[in-house]
C-alpha cells in the first residue's frame, strides 16, 4: 500500500471512484450517526460531507501489508445490483493499483444498502 496514503485519504479516493461508477446513486450516508447522542456534533460532520466516510472503510490488516476495504453503496434503479458491485470492485482495485504503484493485497467487500 501506499505508505504515502493514510487509510482516510485512501478512503476518500476510493469513495470518489465508487461514486463515479455507473449505477451508484450515492454512498451510504451515515445518518445513523445523527441519531446517536454519543457522537458529538463536531465529530459527526462526516455525515454532511455527503457521500461520506461511513460509505467506505479502509483498514490495514493486522500483521500484514494487506488492506480490508468495505464499500457500502445505494444504487439507482434500473441497474443490475451484481453488475454494479463488480464495477465498484473494479474501480476500487484500479484506485489501489494507481495509488500503490505495486500490487496490493486487498480484500474488497461491496454491500448494497439500498436502491433508490
Amino acid at each position: 500500500m501506499t505508505e504515502q496514503q493514510t487509510p482516510r485519504a485512501l478512503a476518500d479516493l476510493v469513495g470518489a471512484a465508487v461514486l463515479a461508477t455507473r449505477g451508484v446513486a450515492f454512498l451510504r450516508p451515515g445518518l445513523a450517526e445523527l441519531l446517536r447522542s454519543s457522537v458529538g456534533l463536531g465529530a459527526g460532520r462526516g455525515t454532511s460531507g455527503a457521500a461520506g466516510a461511513s460509505g467506505v472503510r479502509v483498514q490495514r490488516r493486522k500483521g500484514s501489508a494487506g488492506l480490508d476495504i468495505e464499500v457500502y453503496v445505494v444504487l439507482s434503479r434500473g441497474h443490475r445490483a451484481l453488475d454494479v458491485t463488480r464495477a465498484v470492485r473494479a474501480a476500487v482495485v484500479d484506485v489501489l493499483a494507481g495509488e500503490a504503484g505495486e500490487k496490493v493485497s486487498a480484500q474488497v467487500r461491496v454491500t448494497v444498502t439500498g436502491v433508490v
Binding site: P29, R77, R86, V112
Partner: protein
C-alpha cells in the same frame, strides 16, 4: 446479532416512530424534516444544533438523490413527496438493515441487504395487475459443514441459493394457481435481472383476496407508501425473529447439524 440497538424489539405497529429515529434533542428526525419541507416555523429547530445538523444531512441527501435523478431522468418520475420518502427509506435501511444476502459467485465478496432485495421483489410483483405484494422474507440454504464453505461474516446469511417467501393479496378474477406461478416468475426474473441473486424456491402465500373496488383503488394508490409500510413491518418482524434465533442458536447448532 440483532440490529435493534435500543429499538423496539416488541415490534411496534406501523406508524410508531422507533427510538432510533429520535435525535439527541428529543425531536423525531422525520418530523424535523417534514417541518422543514413545509416551511412551518419552529423556534426549537432554529436554535437546536442537532436539528440543524439533521437538516444539513437532509439537504445533502436531497442533493445526491436529485443528481442521481438528473443523470438518469428516463428511469422514473419522482415528485418531491416521493423523494422525501426515499430519503427516509435510506435512513431506515441504514438503521435497521436486517440481514445481508450474498450476490454473485463464492469468490466474490458482494452483498445486498435483505430489505433492498425484498423491496425489489415486491415491486416486481406489484407490477402484476390486481396483485399487491405484502411481506417478503428471504432465506438461504443452511451451510453444509462438509462442503468446506467458510462461515459468512457477522450479520450475513450463508452464501447459497435463496428461498423467497412472499405474501400477496390478489384480485378475485385471478386463478390462484396461475397467480402464484406469475408471482414466482416475476421474482425469479427480478432476482436474476435486477439483482444477480440465485433463487432456489419461491413460496407464495395468498394472504387475502381483493374485491374489484379494492383492485381499482389499488391502482390509484401510492405504491411507495405501501412499500414503506411493508419494509417497516418486515424489519420489525425480522428483529423479533433474530432475537428468537439468537436465543435458540445453541440448540440449533447442537441438535440439527
Amino acid at each position: 446479532m440483532a440490529m435493534n440497538e435500543g429499538g423496539t424489539p416488541g415490534g411496534a405497529a406501523f406508524g410508531d416512530v422507533p427510538d432510533e429515529e429520535t435525535l439527541p434533542c428529543g425531536r423525531e428526525l422525520a418530523q424535523v424534516w417534514e417541518q422543514a419541507e413545509t416551511g412551518e416555523p419552529d423556534p426549537h429547530t432554529a436554535d437546536c444544533p442537532h436539528c440543524a445538523e439533521a437538516l444539513r444531512a437532509l439537504r445533502t441527501l436531497e442533493g445526491v438523490v436529485a443528481r442521481a435523478r438528473a443523470d438518469e431522468p428516463q428511469e422514473r418520475q419522482w415528485d418531491t413527496a416521493a423523494l422525501a420518502g426515499r430519503v427516509m427509506d435510506v435512513v431506515r435501511l441504514e438503521l435497521r438493515p436486517g440481514r445481508t444476502l450474498a450476490l454473485g459467485e463464492p469468490d466474490e465478496d458482494a452483498w445486498i441487504v435483505e430489505a433492498a432485495a425484498a423491496r425489489t421483489f415486491r415491486a416486481a410483483v406489484d407490477a402484476l395487475p390486481g396483485v399487491r405484494a405484502g411481506s417478503c422474507r428471504i432465506e438461504t440454504a443452511v451451510v453444509n459443514a462438509a462442503s468446506g464453505a467458510s462461515a459468512p461474516p457477522a450479520g450475513r446469511l450463508p452464501r447459497g441459493p435463496a428461498r423467497v417467501r412472499i405474501e400477496v393479496q390478489v384480485g378475485l378474477s385471478w386463478n390462484l394457481q396461475l397467480v402464484a406461478d406469475e408471482v414466482r416468475g416475476r421474482i425469479v426474473e427480478a432476482a436474476d435481472g435486477e439483482l444477480g441473486m440465485r433463487v432456489a424456491a419461491v413460496d407464495v402465500v395468498v394472504a387475502d383476496l381483493l374485491d374489484e373496488d379494492e383492485e381499482d383503488r389499488e391502482d390509484q394508490e401510492d405504491q411507495e407508501d405501501q412499500e414503506d409500510q411493508e419494509d417497516q413491518e418486515d424489519q420489525e418482524d425480522q428483529e423479533d425473529r433474530e432475537d428468537r434465533e439468537a436465543e435458540e442458536a445453541d440448540e440449533v447448532e447442537g441438535g440439527q447439524r
